[in-house]
Structure formats: C-alpha cells, structure tokens
C-alpha cells in the first residue's frame, strides 16, 4: 500500500502536467484535480511513514548500485507534505488569477496554456528530489526543477522578467554542471552513485575532495547562497505572484535538501574544518546582507524576495554547528539538524503565504509600491492579518515554526560553545522585524483624501495565504510530531 502511495505522489503531478497540456487553455480544473489528489496521497504517505517507518521502492526491481532506489523517510515526507500544501494553495489561488475578471494574463495568451503544465512539472521534479538517493537521479530532478522554474520566471514575456529568467538560468546551469562534474568524479572513484552505498566511502579517494567541493559550490549557487544570490531578487520579484510563492518557498529548498543529504547521509570525512566554516560564514553574510537589502527596498515583492536571501542563510549554519560537534559527539548535532529542517519548512509556508498576500494586494491596488499602500489594511483585512502571521514566523517569534527553528539553532550554537552563530540568528530576527514592519506600517496608515480605491478581492481567496500562515504557526504549536519524523542527524 505505502509503496503505491509513494508512486502516486511522484506520478500524479506529472500526469496532471500532461493532462494540462492536452486540454490547453482549460487546464485549471485538471490542475486542481491533480493538486488535490497529490495532496491527499502526500498527507496519507506522511501518516503511514510516521506510524510504520520509511517506505522504499527499487524502481523496476533493480536494486542499487545498478538500479535506483526511492526512499520516503521522515524528512522526505515532511518536505513532500509541505510542498503539497503550498502547491495546492498556489493552484487554488492561480485558478482565479488566470481566469478572473481582472486576470493578470491575456486570456488566450501563452501564459494560460503553459502555466499549469510548468507548475505541475515543477511539483513532480521537487517530489522526485525529495525521495531520490541516487546522485544522478537527483541531477535529472534538479535540472527538471530548474528548467520549469526558469520558464515560470519568464512566463509573462516582459523584458525585465526575461532578463531575470536568463540570469537565473545561467546560474542554474553553471550549478548543475558543477554538480554533474562532482557526480562523474564520485562514480569513477567508487563505482556507485547511491548515497547509501557511498556512506563511509567519501574521502577515501584523492578526487573526492574536488568532487565534494564542485557539488557543494554548484548546489550553493542554486540555493542562492550569498554571494551567488544576485539572480534571486529580480527572478522572484519579477515572476507572477503565484509562481513567486513556489519559487521562493520551495525551489531553493530542493538544492539545499540535496546538499544536506550529500553532507550528512554520505558523511564525507576529510572535508576538514574549513569547508563547513566557509559555508556557515557565507550563510551568516546572507542573513545580514539580505536583511539590510530588504530594509532598503521600496516594493513589497522585492522586500519579500530579499528576505528569502536572508532566510536561506540560516540553513547554512547547520554545517559549522554539526562539524563543531565532530566525531567526538555524533549525537550533538541533532538540535542543529532539526532546527535547520524546521527553518526550511516554516520559511516555505510563511514565504508562500507572503507572496500570495503580495499577489492579492497587487490585484487590489494595482501595484506594490510601499508609499502608496496606505489603506490596504482596511480594504484587505484578512490578507494583512495573514501577512502579519507569516511575519511572526519569519521573525522567529513564539509560537511559530520559525521560533522553534531559531530556538534549536541557538541551543545548538551554545551547546557547541559557538555563541557567534547564535548572535547571527538573533540579529537576523531583529532585522526581520525591522524590514517586515515597514510594509505592515505602510498598509495600516490611513489613506489621504484622494487616495485611489481598491478592487475587491473574494474572501475565500484571502483565506488561502491565511491557511498557509496558520500552517507555519501550527508547525511551532504542534512541533512534537514533525520533530519526531525529522529524527536525529542521519
């Protein structure tokens, strides 16, 4: 039963994408059906894995090293379920956005024909990445996700968005090639690409360090780690809001997920203390730089996009925190590991909520410039409340998922006697409060006499970001279940 569920989670989005292509401009209902079915399968799979343990399929009954094994363990189903929740909200949001009266797109334009297929294709690729343990299979999933994401950035066909898509594509392609180079070197050194079989082998061969460095650099560029982040703000701010939500919340997590699997499942020894320290330092720089840039922006979507740069930075603190635990105390990295996963999941939910809020505000006001947002809170109270709840999670205030994440990271830092990393986490939280306060303050200002009106937005659409923001909050309130699924450091 459970293997069938895993197969469904992987194939339903792809079947939906095919169906959406087949029916052309009436792809909306197909996408909604595929999304709801995949959501049900992903949640059911998560429940099964939580009760019965990890589920595994050897594709075509070929076992590694020749075949490919797909495994849904605790962290994998958490990512699958979070992706399903966000994707379903985005699909429900986009149905109205594409066909609505003030549609963001030409009703017969290329957008209506391709948006659903690309979104579902991206979903399928993300799901493959979360359950693969084979480095080459991960490469194919990564490329599929990148190509679909790049196409979503440029889907509106304006010059700025096409330039943003091209910049993103160049970073993504360079990253993929570096990753592929590393995979090729690992295969020729060890004769396998299965992460389970590579465990304990990495570091035994002279080319392993080069392979690990190339793969890490490639994946860091795809995760928009500072200073490879320059593609992210224009791409995420320029894409249509429904696409931005997915791009910002989920796509960088996929490459990060591979990086975590590579470093902690395959356990390379001989990486030395320099590599983790460098990754952590760049993560800390991303937290500070992204936050300061977010403070300077005048457009809501750019603030949210730069906030993504900052929030992704926290995810790289796991490398020095776990490396500091070292071989002396292998269990000591558990807090850092769980904190990082909590940060990845709660940021995904909160950031998707924020981009959907921004999309609704743009639909109502016609723009997202802060100085002209006065009165938005009166016109869209539910949306602004959802934005506030998502902001609570990004700042790391209790009882949100972001709070649990930061608490665990700080705990890990103090346990390791590396208080500097805890300082970065605290400072990042303060800066997040500062840059998220600006749009909220702008929206709550009362409008001047001749302020332009707002177009009405249906309540049930405003409920979508609200549901995501509540999910981010719920991740903190009910953190025991997810924490158990995350397990310790693998």
């Amino acid at each position: 039963m459970s293997p069938a569920l895993l197969a469904l989670v992987l194939t339903l989005p792809l079947l939906g994408a095919l169906g959406a292509v087949a029916v052309g401009r009436h792809g909306g209902p197909v996408a909604v059906a595929a999304a709801l079915a995949t959501l049900a399968a992903a949640l059911w799979l998560a429940v099964r894995v939580a009760t019965d343990g990890a589920v595994s399929i050897a594709v075509g009954h070929w076992t590694p090293p020749l075949g490919i094994r797909l495994t849904a363990d605790g962290p994998a189903v958490l990512f699958l379920a979070t992706t399903a929740v966000i994707m379903t909200a985005v699909v429900l949001y986009a149905v109205h956005w594409i066909t609505g009266p003030k549609a963001g797109a030409d009703r017969d334009g290329p957008m209506v024909h391709t948006f659903w297929a690309l979104l579902l294709l991206l979903w399928g690729a993300l799901n493959v990445i979360f359950v693969s343990r084979d480095l080459f299979n991960l490469y194919v999933g990564l490329e599929l996700a990148s190509l679909a994401a790049v196409a979503l950035v440029g889907i509106e066909g304006r010059r700025e968005t096409l330039a943003a898509a091209l910049r993103y594509l160049l970073f993504a392609l360079t990253g993929s090639l570096l990753y592929l180079l590393g995979a090729a070197l690992l295969y020729s050194a060890h004769g396998t690409l299965d992460l389970g079989l590579l465990a304990g082998q990495l570091g035994r061969h002279p080319s392993d360090l080069l392979a690990l460095a190339a793969m890490t650099a490639g994946l860091a560029a795809k995760t928009a780690l500072f200073p490879f982040h320059v593609w992210l703000p224009p791409a995420h701010a320029g894409a249509p809001p429904a696409a931005s939500a997915v791009l910002s919340a989920l796509v960088p997590k996929a490459s990060l997920y591979i990086l975590l699997r590579l470093w902690f499942d395959a356990e390379p020894d001989g990486a030395g203390p320099v590599g983790p320290l460098l990754l952590g330092g760049l993560g800390a720089a991303a937290v500070l730089h992204g936050s300061l840039m977010a403070l300077r922006q005048q457009r809501l979507k750019l603030i949210i996009a730069y906030s993504t740069v900052a929030q992704l930075g926290y995810l790289f603190l796991v490398f020095p925190l776990v490396a500091a635990a070292g071989a002396l105390d292998p269990a000591g990295g558990d807090a850092a590991w769980r904190g990082t996963l909590f940060q990845a999941l709660s940021h995904a939910l909160a950031k998707a909520a924020m981009f959907l809020c921004a999309g609704l505000i743009i639909e109502a006001a016609g723009h997202d410039r802060l100085e002209r947002l006065a009165g938005t809170a009166r016109a869209l109270p539910i949306t602004l409340f959802a934005f506030g709840l998502a902001a609570i999670s990004l700042m790391g205030l209790p009882p949100s998922g972001g709070f649990v994440a930061k608490l665990l990271l700080i705990e890990a830092a103090f346990e390791r006697g590396a208080a500097a990393w805890a300082l970065v986490v605290l400072l990042g939280g303060l800066l997040a409060a500062a840059y998220l306060f600006r749009p909220l303050a702008a929206a709550w200002r009362s409008p001047d006499g001749d302020a332009p009106g707002f177009a009405p937005v249906a309540r049930r659409r405003q409920a979508l970001p609200m549901a995501l923001a509540l999910a981010a909050l719920g991740l903190g309130l009910f953190s025991a279940g997810p924490a158990e699924l995350m397990g310790g450091l693998p």
């Binding site: 440029g154 091209l166 594509l169 160049l170 457009r299």
Partner: protein
C-alpha cells in the same frame, strides 16, 4: 612512457571544462555563455566517458555511457530553453548581454548593457539606434 588509452581523452575533457567555465563566468554576451555551457558540458561528458575506461577490465563500464546520454538530452533541452529566452529577450528590446543593475540597489542606466563595454570598446552602441540590427551583428560575430 606509455599513456593509458583513456588519458588523452580525460585531459582533453578537463581542458574543455576549464574553457567552458571561464566562458560561462567571464563573458557577458548571452549567446557566448550558452556556447560555453555546451563546451563545459561536452568536457564533463568526455571526462566521464574516459574515466569509465579506467581500471583493469578490458571493456568500458556501460553505466557512465547511459548517464552521458541522459546528460546530453538534458543539456540539449536546457540549451533550447536558453536560446528561446534569448530570442524573446532580444525581441522585447533587450541587448545581447544582461542589464547590470540589481533592482533596488543603485540602479544604472537600463539600456547600458554589459555588451557596450566589451571587446575593447570597438563595439560601442549608439543608444537607441537600430538595436535589433546591432543585435544580429553581435550574434553573428
């Protein structure tokens, strides 16, 4: 000294990887960067194929060949998407390079694309004058 049969191919592949990486990072023109991507990809495939021949066994390991074929398919699709985006970007009035401004941070002239600074200045554009023709010449050169 007798070189093993795979060695020249592997070295050649490594050289192509270096050339391609340099082109991807250092060249501003989009078309050249896509070509560089393909050069680097070819280098990786060559290196991978050559390394598959290493070792005592008399035949080449077939698994890398299967992966190389998949990799080529992926690279071709990526190239197709990149070329389509470049054509659409040029059609929407963009230059042969990407604008160098980052949104919100010190906006420079929108039209001051990287390409105007390239090739020792002998290719400086006259702003606003027949950009599309310049485009074609730039691509052909």
């Amino acid at each position: 000294m007798n070189l093993p049969i795979w060695m020249p191919y592997a070295l050649c592949g490594a050289g192509l990887i270096g050339l391609g990486l340099y082109g991807l990072l250092a060249r501003p023109q989009l078309l050249r960067r896509i070509l560089a991507f393909n050069v680097m990809g070819a280098g990786i495939f060559l290196l991978f194929g050559a390394l598959a021949r290493r070792g005592e066994i008399a035949y080449a390991d077939p698994v890398p060949q299967a992966m190389i074929i998949t990799g080529i398919v992926v690279a071709v699709s990526a190239t197709a998407l990149a070329l389509a985006l470049i054509v659409a970007h040029a059609g929407a009035g963009g230059g042969e390079g990407l604008p160098s401004d980052t949104p919100g941070g010190g906006k420079r002239d929108e039209r001051g694309d990287d390409d105007a600074r390239d090739d020792a200045g002998h290719d400086r554009r006259i702003p606003g004058r027949d950009r599309r023709r310049n485009e074609r010449e730039g691509a052909a050169r």
